[in-house]
């Protein structure tokens, strides 16, 4: 029972971060209608920003959120404006071409990171990286718990923004009917650029929060792009509520897989669930939540 609770806690905490990754991906999916295959690579860039700020400026990783998130927001905006928006202007190009472009962007980011930082593993070790506290016999990683709280706050803030502000509603409107939105006076191109920035900013926050308990090397982007993809499919493409459920599901699946099957099967369990959802619940949790 204790092991079960322990695994549950670990899974939910990790799921919070995954939700953040998935939320960015699903926003981009909803508005642009494409899968951003540079999502994990953007997270990798954010992790290197965090690493540099921690190592050379000596800043606290959580303080660095105020640097890494805006930095990646800017990167997302630039990627959208200079690599994806030009593709949208050519009518004969299919949306698939934008997806290919994100693959290219991901490769460039990875290789630039390799060029600057080499392929060596690095990590950010803080005083609380390995610290834990106990609650009813279950141990909580301090870093992961803090990360989870940040993730909840950011997710809540994002929902408030999407539901209660004109800009947030405009993002949803463009996702649902871009032409009708433009008749309402919404500049859809600007909304797309903003959304890519927000998606990149969200995944930056996840990367930044993850770094104190993880490690970093240039190729870490690929696996996280895959995870983001799995989360988005689990949740239902373009569904924000679904992304959170998908994130937590993947976190739980990995945790239970690691505990009850074996560490090396962690990723496999996630992918098995992914395939099961595709087979038995195509459309993901969106089919159940309707949002």
């Amino acid at each position: 029972m204790e092991v079960f609770l322990q695994t549950l806690v670990a899974g939910v905490l990790k799921g919070g971060l995954y939700a953040l990754i998935g939320l960015g991906m699903t926003l981009i999916m909803g508005v642009m209608g494409i899968i951003n295959l540079a999502h994990g690579q953007m997270m990798m860039v954010a992790m290197y920003v965090t690493y540099v700020c921690f190592n050379y400026l000596g800043l606290d990783p959580y303080l660095i959120l105020f640097i890494s998130v805006p930095a990646l927001f800017l990167l997302g905006v630039l990627v959208q404006r200079y690599t994806l928006n030009p593709l949208l202007k050519v009518e004969s190009l299919l949306p698939e071409n934008q997806v290919l472009m994100t693959v290219g962007v991901g490769m460039v980011l990875t290789e630039v990171a390799r060029f600057i930082f080499t392929s060596n593993y690095v990590s950010v070790k803080t005083t609380y990286s390995d610290a834990t506290f106990f609650l009813g016999g279950v141990s909580f990683s301090v870093a992961l718990t803090i990360a989870f709280c940040f993730a909840c706050a950011l997710t809540g803030g994002m929902f408030w923004f999407l539901l209660k502000t004109d800009l947030g509603r405009s993002i949803r409107a463009v996702a649902q009917d871009a032409e009708a939105a433009s008749l309402m006076g919404v500049n859809a191109e600007r909304i797309r650029t903003l959304t890519m920035g927000l998606g990149a900013g969200l995944v930056a926050a996840a990367g930044n929060l993850l770094l104190p308990i993880y490690y970093l090397f240039p190729d870490i982007g690929g696996p996280f792009t895959r995870k983001a993809f799995v989360i988005t499919i689990l949740g239902g493409l373009g569904s924000t509520v679904g992304a959170i459920l998908g994130g937590v599901t993947l976190g739980l699946a990995e945790a239970f897989g690691a505990t009850y099957i074996g560490m090396e099967f962690e990723d496999m369990v996630g992918l098995v669930i992914f395939i099961a959802v595709l087979l038995f619940l195509p459309g993901g949790f969106k089919r159940l939540t309707k949002i």
Binding site: R169, R172, Q176, D177, E179, A181, L183, M184, G185
Partner: protein, 242 residues
């Protein structure tokens, strides 16, 4: 506030419009005068919706120009047209299906002129359409066709436009609902808005409009007051089946 009818509000001057290589409109010219209900009738594929789309700048005329109160419309980008005071109730309603009715209405009032009057506009729309008020918390996609059309009209009104364009509002509605929607169009006009109505439903619209143009194969074929066109032999034969 019934303004003096007669002053030209929107002037479409000899526009040619293409979809890719296919020409859809040939030298289409007409004008909408302040305070009136102007109807553009025509068969399926005559170019009615293309005309509306061109006024909304979703399509760009290759020749000719469109002026609204003296200001060029055709050089603007689609999202800038509403700022001039031109709003639209698009064909097929085009509501945001996963947003609530009220959110849809709020999306109508983004323009700088409409935003400060948002609360007041919302009240006005709910007063005009009590049915919409009942449904305000419901997702727009779950409404019936007639209710959706009311929300679409309400969303257009939220922009506080000078000109409201209706693109085939009766499409897909029962005869009874169609009657009701045209009643609403008249109501909107009585509130002081100028109306440009594009319709296939010739019989109804000619009876309710001030003036009308008949569009045939992308060209303006006839024009006149509603009554004049109703008694025109060609219109009677081709559109009214008399």
């Amino acid at each position: 506030m019934p303004s003096a009818k007669g002053e030209t509000m929107l002037r479409v001057e000899g526009i040619d419009v293409f979809y890719g290589d296919v020409q859809v409109l040939w030298e289409v010219s007409f004008e909408v005068r302040e305070g009136e209900i102007l109807v553009l009738v025509g068969a399926n594929g005559a170019g009615k919706s293309t005309t509306i789309k061109t006024i909304s700048s979703l399509l760009t005329p290759s020749r000719g120009r469109i002026l609204f109160q003296g200001q060029p419309v055709h050089t603007r980008r689609p999202f800038e047209v509403i700022d001039l005071g031109i709003a639209q109730v698009p064909e097929g309603r085009r509501l945001f299906p996963e947003m609530t009715v009220e959110e849809n209405l709020l999306m109508g009032s983004l323009s700088p002129a409409a935003k400060p009057r948002r609360a007041e506009s919302l009240e006005w729309v709910y007063e005009l359409f009590p049915r919409v008020l009942e449904r305000r918390k419901q997702a727009a996609g779950t409404l019936s066709g007639g209710e959706q059309q009311m929300v679409a009209i309400g969303r257009g009104l939220m922009a506080r436009p000078k000109l409201l364009m209706f693109d085939e509002p009766s499409l897909g509605l029962s005869p009874l609902l169609t009657e009701h929607i045209f009643e609403l169009v008249r109501k909107v006009n009585a509130e002081g808005l100028t109306v440009l109505l594009v319709e296939q439903n010739v019989h109804h619209t000619l009876a309710m409009c001030d003036r009308a143009y008949v569009l045939e194969n992308g060209r303006i074929a006839l024009t006149g007051s509603g009554d004049e066109l109703m008694s025109n032999d060609h219109v009677r034969e081709a559109y009214l089946g008399l």
